[in-house]
């Protein structure tokens, strides 16, 4: 058994080599540690199933590079494609009808296959080098919980199992993200089979939050997507609409944290907006975070007088609560200037919110 750290530049290349030769690799993902094999290699898949003590009828999800690659292995109609562009890359496994191009044991008995496009450069690089889908099943024995560190898994393995691992790629301790949310779209009705950190609503077009913590995860997920998709350096404005107490401020606070804002982040209702310089930016291009609460604004001229329209400089991200209070005219003016991203919050029940973006 060989072990290599992710900081080592050769790690991905080595893993790709081992996988191409039919080996079994322990590999870090955006959620938990996974067991990666070439999903089209029969003996590799058998080895994986043997390792997991798992009955062969249960499907094993695979990681691919993008929607194009996914469509080689599963049927994707327009609805599915829309869902892909909305959710992936991200912490989701999307189950569709398979095209039976993977090795036996990967697709479920009913011929469906779960696809992951993890939000992880390490995985994307690996898949690119292997050129085939790789298994993305969580690294644990069947029925046990997943692992966030290599040590934690190794502690549960017998010597025999340990010898089955051909390579360990050690990414250290992973952040405590839940395993992916599993969504089955192979039937006409979309079903959520497992709840991860970010869970979709009935249509698949919205996400559901059941706690402040989940709202935070949702914020992180949505904002990452938006930043990936933004093509110019205009300010990004997240326009948060929804009733009082729907989680708009919680959402904004999570966005601020994402960009490395430290210290307390309080509601700016009284001061209309708070401005945070981002010095230790995690995403290098963003230099400023603005948090607006237009709850008190009654008239557009009040905005002019706080130089509202000049605040949205290049490289800034803004969360705007109660954007509707600025009025139609100002709204149109601002939309022209910035990348405008509407996000709607809806109260479902006491601790449940539906978020549409």
């Amino acid at each position: 058994m060989i072990r290599i750290g992710t900081k080592d530049k050769k790690a991905v290349e080595m893993a790709a080599d081992v996988i191409k030769k039919g080996g079994l690799v322990l590999y870090p993902s955006d959620t938990v540690y996974i067991l990666a094999v070439d999903a089209t290699n029969k003996s590799a898949v058998e080895k994986l199933i043997g390792f997991k003590d798992r009955w062969a009828g249960k499907a094993i999800s695979v990681a691919v590079l993008d929607e194009v690659m996914a469509s080689e292995y599963v049927e994707l109609d327009d609805n599915a494609k829309r869902l892909y562009s909305r959710l992936l890359p991200g912490p989701f496994t999307i189950i569709s009808k398979g095209k039976h191009k993977t090795a036996k044991g990967i697709e479920a008995e009913n011929g469906t296959l779960g696809i992951r496009i993890p939000d992880s450069k390490l995985i994307a690089d690996l898949v690119r080098m292997v050129g085939k889908p790789i298994s993305a099943t969580s690294a644990n024995l069947s029925g046990r919980s997943p692992h966030y560190s290599v040590e934690s898994l190794l502690g549960t393995l017998s010597k025999k199992k340990m010898e089955m691992l051909d390579l360990i790629v050690d990414g250290g301790r992973l952040p405590n993200n839940k395993p992916s949310t599993v969504i089955d779209i192979s039937e006409s009705e979309i079903k959520v089979l497992r709840r991860g950190d970010v869970v979709t609503g009935k249509s698949g077009q919205t996400v559901i939050s059941k706690s402040e913590k989940e709202t935070g995860k949702v914020a992180e997920f949505i904002v990452k997507k938006i930043i990936e998709k933004s093509k110019d350096d205009k300010a990004i404005v997240l326009a948060l609409t929804g009733d009082l107490g729907c989680g708009k401020t919680v959402f904004s606070r999570s966005v601020a944290r994402m960009f490395g804002v430290e210290g307390k982040i309080t509601s700016p209702t009284f001061f209309i907006f708070n401005e945070y310089e981002i010095t230790k930016s995690k995403t290098t291009l963003i230099t400023k975070f603005l948090h607006f609460d237009l709850y008190r604004i009654r008239d557009k001229h009040e905005l002019d007088e706080i130089n509202f329209f000049d605040l949205f400089e290049k490289g800034s991200v803004a969360c705007v609560e109660w954007p509707e209070n600025m009025g139609e005219e100002a709204l149109e003016e601002l939309k022209k200037k910035v990348n405008w991203v509407p996000i709607k919050f809806e109260y479902i029940e006491e601790n449940t919110r539906e978020i549409q973006y």
């Binding site: 009733d243 009082l244 107490g245 401020t249 919680v250 307390k264 309080t266 509601s267 209702t269 009284f270 001061f271 209309i272 907006f273 708070n274 401005e275 709850y295 008190r296 001229h301 009040e302 007088e305 706080i306 130089n307 109260y347 006491e350």
Partner: protein, 364 residues
């Protein structure tokens, strides 16, 4: 030492003139009807509003302070008159104190820029003041005659509550502060404003709720006491606001109106009890000799009574600002902080480079 103080941290444009720790004049534009010729004003968050009235407010403060002989020989235009009053006042004024933060950024700039301009033009010493420290020390304010003579013993524990802040601050002496608790989301005053809006009442909601609550049953509605079980002294009012909102939302307008006073009373009680609970715990923890309760929400008589009782139970004297104008934002309190800073020699070194600090912290 004659001090001119300026505060433009939020809605109100304010200027004051002090002789040491005695406030000679304390003008707040939204509460005082300035001479009509000088442009009567309405409360506004606007920077332009501050800009338009700042000079008139300073002139008014100088006039009322009676530090200068302001008899003019001939009739002159109002703009010139304002300039002349300020120039005359500047002959006597030695130090200019201005709020640097915290506050609304564009609003703060107006005061900071004006203070810089005057300090440079007339070659005066400049002091940059923290707004929250102003609120805390407002309990030490004296009138022209030097009253009241308060001998506050340190250490003290201050509760500062307004629409913009909610903090518990430990004070080991003038100028020595440590924030031991504060709100993690909405300020207490803001929580009151928002509830008022939910019930279809006006802004600012605090005073409306206070009036309604007087005749209401404060046990009518069950509401949470946020962060009750946490050991720290931090507040959170967002959850309380949400709980209230979703209870109110289920009701028709008729139902709300029928029990308006009861809802107001129950909500106000929940906010105030939350404030007192943490404050009480902090008092036990820090074993201080004095209590200080300041900020706009202290205008609420019910809250004052509750705090008065808390202080009696703890057998520690509690101090509130002596005048109503000292509860809300005012430049008098800024001048007072400026006076103590000037005594310590804490002047702005490079006047031209003084900048506002919208999220300025106190202590630590």
């Amino acid at each position: 030492m004659i001090i001119l103080a300026i505060d433009t941290s939020c809605d109100d444009t304010s200027a004051a003139v002090l002789m040491d720790d005695r406030i000679l004049a304390n003008v707040v534009s939204s509460q005082v009807d300035l001479h009509k010729d000088w442009g009567g004003v309405v409360p506004d968050i606007a920077m332009r509003a501050h800009k338009e009235r700042i000079e008139a407010v300073i002139a008014e403060a100088i006039k009322r302070s009676q530090i200068s002989d302001l008899r003019f020989q001939k009739h002159i235009k109002k703009d010139e008159k304002i300039k002349e009053i300020i120039a005359k006042g500047m002959e006597k004024i030695e130090v200019i104190a201005v709020t640097k933060g915290s506050g609304l950024a564009p609003a703060l700039s107006v005061g900071v820029n004006k203070a810089k301009e005057l300090a440079i033009e007339f070659d005066k010493k400049l002091v940059a003041v923290n707004h929250i420290e102003g609120h805390i020390l407002s309990v030490l304010a004296k009138n022209r005659a030097g009253r009241p003579e308060r001998q506050i013993e340190w250490p003290a524990l201050a509760l500062t509550i307004s629409g913009g802040h909610t903090k518990i601050v430990r004070i080991s002496g003038i100028g020595k502060y440590e924030v031991v608790g504060e709100t993690l989301d909405d300020a207490a005053g803001e929580a009151l404003d928002k509830a008022a809006k939910q019930m279809g009442l006006g802004y600012p909601g605090g005073p409306v709720i206070e009036r309604l609550a007087e005749s209401g049953n404060d046990n009518f509605m069950e509401l949470p006491r946020p962060l009750k079980d946490r050991k720290d002294f931090d507040y959170s009012f967002s959850g309380l606001k949400t709980a209230f909102y979703y209870q109110i939302k289920k009701l028709t307008n008729e139902e709300i109106n029928e029990h308006l006073t009861d809802y107001a009373a129950s909500y106000q009680r929940a906010v105030f009890e939350t404030l007192l609970m943490k404050y009480g715990k902090a008092i036990d923890e820090y074993k201080v000799k004095s209590l200080i309760a300041v900020g706009g929400v202290m205008a609420n008589q019910k809250l004052r009574k509750m705090l008065g009782k808390l202080a009696r139970d703890k057998k520690i004297p509690i101090y509130f600002p002596v005048k109503k104008i000292l509860n809300t934002d005012n430049a008098g309190m800024i001048g007072l902080v400026g006076y103590f800073q000037a005594l310590r020699g804490e002047f702005v070194e490079n006047k031209a480079e003084l900048d506002r600090d919208p999220r300025m912290e106190i202590g630590n």
